[in-house]
């Protein structure tokens, strides 16, 4: 095992690491109309941008207060701010060295790449095609993104107004605002189809200081030696340890199919000023909640009637498509019963192999082996985008570590009691190769019926492929389930870069 590097937490922006995790996150997309004042304005933002160390400290304080009070603190809040710039924006600002990035996806931008990740082709006029987007295509491609986050919606709105006014006085023009907000009450953390989201995140390898065990991502396995088999590859149940070079420029990446080892001189290619930065994928995804629910209701009725499964509920059908029950409880651990929200065990499972050792205080059944997709369908969303211990079309499970993303998305839009309103997900993810991470997941796994599992079907939730089929199995019964698709439609976005803070002070 190689020593994990010390990450420069004073330079890395805090939404990359550890993530803002706030109830309100506003995304302000701006275009540069006058580069020189815009450059000065962006430079002046530097002291206001929250670093990784500051956000970690804020989270620690908030957690400490919650522990002390026994409930969430009412009067402790922060307003985090981060900034990203697109390739087009960097060019307008005259920043040298953009061509040193290897990632063509970043350099070309999302609009050019949209069709290759499954969106309808430009000019087709179909929902999801770039010309239908609210921003991110044509004359509405953003140069700058400001991300502000707080639990206090009013504070977010006030700050948003202040930032827009200030920016528009200094060479920038607002083109779009997305206001993300977690869903109310017990639905917090659930996306609009109803499923708990953001459960499974990779854990970045790295330390806060030179102290040997001062890990940024805590290692939470029980001390019992039974769990030693997991320690070198996982920070916690279901949280693979990934070398920081897959998320941050300036750090080493994994060596081949050996997740425990980094490869010398494997820092992601890019200009010197990219160190401590990360590529940001932003996708504004509109969800047809009513359409999805109607589908689950109608199809589960059909499958009950035709004898596939006399007890199939819409909830269980949804769980089979996602791979988790609405509560987040994994189908692999309970294909027939939703155990409700169980943070301890909800990410403790594998697909191919059985899990054999229970976590202390986790009373529920462990997963059985499912190498053939009989318990959790191969097409299930969570098995498509994170096949865990499954071998895939790219080889052994060890290679999957290099494909993972740091996801920071948040829901937007009101509840379904306002049926005419739009709702969905503001998908945000960080990585150092959009081509080999986000786009790979979309092109090769989400939209491909034969990858990562042969004849597994496309991802029924987020694939843009229409009128496809996936296989469902119940005992000896199998059914080719028609998937009309189209419940998730892209309505905007861009590929951007979130530089280290020093970029704003020293390079701009």
């Amino acid at each position: 095992m190689l020593e994990e590097p010390v990450l420069n937490l004073d330079d890395i922006q805090g939404n990359v690491l550890p993530g803002f995790k706030k109830d309100s996150q506003h995304f302000l997309f701006l275009q540069i109309v006058d580069p020189e004042p815009a450059r000065l304005w962006l430079k002046s933002l530097a002291p206001r941008l929250w670093t990784a160390r500051e956000v970690l400290a804020a989270h620690s304080m908030w957690k400490a207060m919650r522990l002390k009070l026994g409930h969430e603190p009412d009067n402790l809040d922060f307003l985090f701010l981060n900034c990203a710039i697109s390739a087009q924006g960097l060019a307008k600002l005259g920043v040298p060295g953009i061509e040193e990035f290897d990632d063509q996806a970043f350099k070309l931008g999302l609009e050019e790449r949209a069709a290759s990740i499954g969106d309808p082709p430009r000019g087709s006029g179909e929902p999801g095609a770039p010309e239908k987007w609210m921003f991110g295509a044509g004359f509405h491609r953003p140069d700058v993104l400001l991300i502000l986050a707080t639990d206090d919606l009013d504070w977010a709105v006030r700050t948003e107004e202040e930032l827009i006014t200030s920016a528009e006085q200094q060479g920038l023009q607002l083109i779009h605002v997305d206001r993300g907000r977690v869903r109310p009450g017990k639905l917090a953390g659930h996306e609009h189809f109803g499923f708990k989201d953001g459960i499974s995140h990779p854990a970045i390898r790295g330390r806060r200081s030179t102290a040997p065990d001062d890990f940024i991502e805590p290692r939470t396995w029980p001390e019992n030696s039974t769990f030693d088999i997991y320690r070198s590859r996982f920070a916690a149940p279901g949280r693979p340890l990934v070398w920081p070079g897959h998320f941050l420029f300036g750090y080493l990446r994994q060596k081949g199919d050996e997740p425990e080892s980094s490869r010398p001189n494997s820092e992601p290619p890019g200009p010197a000023w990219a160190v401590n930065g990360s590529f940001l994928v932003y996708r504004r995804l509109s969800q047809n909640v009513q359409g999805f629910r109607t589908f689950l209701t109608e199809v589960s009725e059909t499958l009950r009637q035709n004898g596939f499964d006399p007890d199939l509920t819409p909830e269980r059908l949804g769980a089979l498509l996602v791979g988790r029950w609405a509560s987040g409880w994994p189908v692999m651990r309970d294909p027939n019963v939703d155990r409700g929200e169980q943070e301890l065990g909800e990410n403790y499972f594998t697909f191919t192999e059985a899990t054999t050792v229970s976590l202390p205080n986790d009373p529920y059944p462990l997963n059985l082996p499912d190498p053939n997709g009989l318990i959790c369908p191969f097409a299930a969303h969570i098995r498509k985008v994170n096949p865990r211990d499954d071998a895939t079309d790219i080889g052994s499970k060890e290679k999957t570590f290099q494909k993972l993303l740091l996801r920071r998305g948040i829901t937007f839009g009101p509840e379904i009691d306002q049926p005419q309103a739009e709702r969905g997900l503001l998908f945000v993810a960080f990585q150092t190769s959009i081509v080999n991470q986000f786009e790979f997941l979309m092109n090769d796994w989400v939209n491909e019926a034969n990858k990562p599992h042969a004849e597994g079907g496309v991802d029924p939730i987020i694939s843009a492929v229409r009128n496809t089929k996936i296989s469902l199995v119940n005992g000896t019964n199998s059914f080719e389930l028609p998937i009309p698709g189209g419940w998730v439609v892209a309505t905007g976005g861009e590929y951007m870069f979130v530089p280290g803070i020093r970029f704003f002070t020293d390079i701009l």
Binding site: S116, S266, P269, E353, D393, K397, E398, N450, E455
Partner: protein, 404 residues
């Protein structure tokens, strides 16, 4: 009588009497050598027998009636060189050109280096624009076979070369090396990708990986090895750095562990299955797949039924633009590797239902000294009448088949 069809059901051999039968014998020999040779020998060195094999030669044992076609898919774009390059253009430049096979050995062959059972050659015009990319998944054995079988088949070889290259002046002398042996690296194969030439892109490798990955393995503690990486390292089949080899081995071993019988689909081969056309844009809006021509083998709307072994991507002159003017994901096509990244390759195997017989017994890793092995931990539910009992003549070769 069982007949192994020519790869991709190609019809060349029909032009020479007896050649199809000889090909069938040739594939049978591949099985005998890799399965009942290498594979069985290793089992026997651990005190096991052919009752511990679940991969079988369909010429020796009839295909089980319950068998279903299962596929393994992967991308034609190699990943095994990824770590040598920090820049995609450099990597694609390397992949597009022939390279020395073993960089450490200055005398090793210079070959197409593409190692995912699909090789390609890029043709450019005087402006360095790509006018054609030729893809092949044809095994070198098919051509070796024509060269070495008979004078008639050797004539056929020349004819196939002439047809593929559209160069009628090719003679047998153009295809041999100084010793008079068939040369995989002859000028025309180098330039027209008549067949695969990377030394490991062979049918023999395919049969070997399938045969040997079907053997169950345990580590020194007697614990089963069941993951793709562990299996390929333990069984020492194929190349761990490829996408295909560990994935094929993983799938075959899983079927064996489930007590299923496995054989490669007939015709034996590795096939391009489909192309992902999402995000392609041509200058005049013509659908980009219009320029994809399957020359040998067949393409089916269902990728698992495609048997493509030769295909060409080129734009007709009448279009007045080139392949390089076409974009994929907004990028102009500057390398054949960009197209390869959109091509899937597959191998198909026929897999039976789980059998009601004792599970195959595992052995340790290849190259290790045999150690005491535990009895199989799990046996499928016993049945008074097992699927194979009463059919001792399934395997009809002369070799000892153990107690199955």
């Amino acid at each position: 009588m069982w007949v192994f069809e020519p790869t991709a059901n190609l019809t060349d051999f029909e032009r020479v009497s007896g050649l199809k039968d000889s090909w069938s014998s040739f594939i049978n020999d591949l099985y005998e050598r890799n399965l009942y040779g290498d594979g069985l020998r290793e089992l026997q060195s651990w005190g096991r027998s052919d009752s511990d094999l679940r991969v079988y030669n369909p010429a020796s044992m009839p295909i089980l009636s319950s068998s279903e076609l299962k596929n393994v898919f992967w991308s034609a774009l190699p990943t095994s060189f990824d770590e040598q390059f920090n820049n995609t253009d450099e990597k694609f430049t390397y992949l597009d050109q022939r390279q020395r096979f073993n960089l450490q050995d200055g005398s090793s062959v210079i070959t197409r280096i593409q190692d995912e059972y699909c090789e390609w050659v890029v043709k450019r015009n005087s402006d360095n624009k790509i006018i054609e990319v030729i893809f092949t998944s044809e095994p070198p054995e098919y051509y070796n076979f024509m060269f070495y079988t008979s004078q008639e088949s050797r004539d056929l070889l020349v004819d196939v070369y002439r047809k593929i290259t559209e160069i009628p002046s090719i003679t047998i002398d153009d295809l041999v090396d100084r010793s008079g042996e068939y040369d995989w690296y002859n000028l025309y194969n180098n330039e027209f990708a008549v067949h695969m030439q990377q030394p490991n892109n062979t049918l023999s490798a395919q049969v070997n990986i399938v045969s040997r990955s079907g053997i169950l393995r345990v580590n020194r503690l007697g614990n089963p090895i069941t993951d793709a990486q562990g299996l390929i390292r333990c069984g020492r089949y194929g190349d761990e750095a490829r996408q295909s080899d560990p994935r094929i081995g993983d799938a075959i071993n899983k079927f064996s562990r489930e007590n299923r019988f496995i054989t490669i689909e007939n015709p034996v081969g590795l096939y391009m299955s489909d192309v992902d056309w999402n995000g392609w844009e041509t200058p005049d809006g013509t659908s980009a797949d219009a320029f994809w021509t399957v020359v040998r083998g067949s393409q089916d709307a269902e990728p698992n039924k495609s048997y493509i072994v030769r295909a060409v991507y080129s734009v007709p002159e009448s279009k007045e633009y080139t392949v390089s003017d076409i974009k994929i994901g907004g990028e102009q096509i500057e390398f054949g590797a960009q197209i390869a990244a959109r091509i899937n390759v597959r191998v198909g195997v026929l897999v039976s239902d789980p059998q009601q017989i004792p599970l195959p017994r595992a052995i340790g890793c290849k190259g290790t000294s045999p150690f005491s092995l535990p009895a199989p931990a799990v046996v499928t539910p016993s049945s008074a009448v097992t699927a194979l009992s009463g059919t001792p003549s399934r395997m009809n070769t002369n070799r000892t088949r153990g107690e199955m």
